[in-house]
């Protein structure tokens, strides 16, 4: 398919061989209902206007683009521009999608929303919108993550959500996702499942991308105004891949703009302790879609590692799988240590504390910039702020609070 006519997914949610609806029959009607409701909402000018209003007045959009001149000069090559999703309400891009889905839940008369969360960012964003719209909110979180992310668990509780620790499997994000699916299939009549990334069964990957695509849509006029042209490369971190799809989507037809997704290499790809599904995985079926997965020879999903909990997931959104195979986007990896170094650099040279997830995209830009001419432009998605990562970073530096 020529990317200037890009119109994926198809009606059944396929991005080429990826995506689809791989769920038990019990969930099929719920997904059909969601798909119909989402299509109706998309075609409803009132829904779109309200979404725009909420993004402007509740989230604080548009988020600015900032030219990181000092850091760019120190690196001595390309100019790095940052799309400041960290300045959104709740401190990350996650809220864009949560507002859209919560509005849809209200439209579908579902008074209860559920979510899964790893580090707690999507859980906090979901709890936030549930409070905003007066909905009951239940968040599933692996019991290991509950221990590691006590502050976010408390945030969710402050916002009125119930946090349920999940004890099964590896007790992390993928197990929380399994448990949320089970809740949904049991309580489908009154419950809306707010998925936080561009994965899961159709229509989730498309719907989450659409809600997040505001990121890239804003960038195009902003870059024209700020730099007089579009960037040479757009760089974003990829776990499930929602901030990356959000910033990539409107750039897909702009074939002169290179799209680069940065996966978490953890302790290094060769160590086996990483979360780089596109780089080191094989296509398979998990959590409702076909995509690249980290799996063993027998098709069992393997445990992943990243210093960034938000990237610590064995799958990836199916649209990224398509973008990789089609060659429209390139996927690279950055280790824990490289991400940490970029984290510190942005703190020290630009006065911005980035999320560890976003630090992976920053680290790749920092690796690339010195090799490029000074008039090259790299646009990096600064998907979230790093307040939530204080503990992790301090611990790495041998500091205890």
């Amino acid at each position: 398919m020529p990317v200037d006519q890009y119109n994926l997914p198809d009606d059944r949610g396929h991005f080429g061989q990826f995506g689809g609806i791989f769920v038990a029959e019990t969930l099929i009607p719920a997904l059909a209902e969601l798909k119909a409701a989402y299509e109706a909402a998309q075609n409803d000018p009132e829904f779109r206007a309200e979404f725009e209003y909420e993004l402007a007045h509740y989230v604080g959009r548009p988020s600015p683009i900032y030219h990181a001149k000092r850091w760019s000069n120190l690196l001595g090559g390309a100019q790095i521009y940052l799309k400041r999703e960290d300045l959104n309400h709740t401190g990350a891009h996650k809220i864009n999608n949560c507002i859209g889905q919560a509005m849809l839940a209200r439209r579908m008369s579902k008074p209860r929303v559920i979510a899964e969360t790893g580090a707690g960012q999507h859980g906090v964003a979901t709890a936030t919108v549930a409070a905003r719209y007066g909905m009951e909110c239940v968040v599933y979180m692996g019991s290991e993550d509950v221990k590691r992310q006590a502050a976010n668990v408390y945030r969710m509780k402050l916002l009125g959500a119930t946090v349920i620790p999940v004890e099964s499997g590896s007790k992390t994000l993928k197990d929380a996702l399994n448990e949320a699916m089970r809740d949904w299939v049991t309580n489908v009549g009154n419950t809306f499942y707010i998925i936080g990334t561009v994965a899961g069964p159709h229509p989730y990957p498309m719907m989450v991308r659409d809600f997040q695509s505001v990121i890239g849509r804003e960038c195009i006029p902003q870059m024209s105004a700020l730099a007089g042209r579009q960037p040479d490369q757009v760089i974003a971190c990829v776990g499930g891949g929602s901030n990356a799809m959000g910033i990539f989507y409107d750039y897909i037809p702009h074939t002169e703009v290179k799209l680069v997704g940065v996966e978490a290499a953890g302790h290094g790809i060769d160590s086996g302790k990483h979360a780089a599904s596109l780089t080191a995985g094989r296509p398979g079926v998990l959590h409702g879609n076909r995509t690249y997965l980290l799996q063993d020879a027998n098709g069992q999903i393997i445990e992943t590692h990243s210093i960034s909990a938000g990237l610590d997931y064995p799958g990836v959104g199916p649209e990224h799988a398509w973008l990789k195979d089609s060659g429209r986007a390139e996927y690279v990896t950055v280790t824990d240590d490289e991400a940490l170094a970029a984290f510190h650099d942005l703190c020290r040279y630009e006065g911005i504390i980035p999320a560890l997830e976003s630090s992976h995209a920053l680290a790749y830009a920092a690796r690339l910039a010195p090799t490029l001419a000074k008039d090259t432009i790299l646009l990096v998605s600064l998907s979230g702020r790093g307040d939530k990562d204080m503990h992790t970073v301090a611990e790495k530096s041998g500091i205890q609070f």
């Binding site: 059944r12 689809g20 609806i21 791989f22 769920v23 038990a24 029959e25 019990t26 099929i28 009607p29 719920a30 059909a32 099964s168 499997g169 993928k174 197990d175 399994n178 699916m181 089970r182 299939v185 049991t186 489908v188 009549g189 094989r282 296509p283 398979g284 079926v285 998990l286 959590h287 409702g288 997965l293 799996q295 020879a297 027998n298 098709g299 069992q300 999903i301 393997i302």
Partner: protein, 269 residues
Amino acid sequence: MSRIAAKFAELKSQQRKALIPFITAGDPEPGQTLPLMRALVDGGADIIELGVPFSDPMADGPTIQRASERALAYGISLKIVMGMVREFRKGDATTPVVLMGYANPVEAYGVEAFAADAAAAGVDGVLIVDYPPEECGEFSRVMKAAGIDPIFLLAPTSVESRFTDVAQLGSGYIYYVSLKGVTGAATIDTDEVAQRIPSIRAKVGMPVGVGFGIRDAASAARIARVADAVVIGSKIIETIEQAPAGTAAERVTAFLRQVRTAMDKETRS
């Protein structure tokens, strides 16, 4: 005629309904799977559903997930499960075996290779929980070509167009999931099932088994009155879990015998 079709024909002539227990291969440890399969047959099983363990069993409740985790701790793979069926076949040429599991282990093995090896091992049917009809036209064709029945789920929430889809792609029997939720969840609503089964059977043109939420002889008997088969999973896994060491097989046989007796009394009276 396939083993599954032959079994349903035989049962029909006897005015009996099929009893289909489920166990997870390799649970609680690999050496017990063959004795447990034989114990199921001794207890009156007509067809055995053998679970292929998966790391992320989204459609199952905690009981079957625990069984899956115990089996995976022993490294039970799809290949090993097919080996177990091959062993079982050496002593039992007639009881159909249906493998039940998730798509990813099958895709990792390769669909064509799986079909060939499963058929050679003596597998009669395959139920892939996360392969709804819209995603598995090709899979279904490959299974049928290998002489394996692709078995599909229907749910209380399924609209009528789904009946036609599974009728086209499926064979052997239809597995009607009797309640919303995951395996082992709540208790079955037999009235709802009684209402739905006749129209489903008429539409799909094959036997309809009912599962999810059947936990004792009484509920099994009530379901046997209206359905063609009764599937019991979580309750059997719990029986295995709770059995003192060395007694799982006899406990399972004893439990199934009660169910069998109650079902036959119901359908032959």
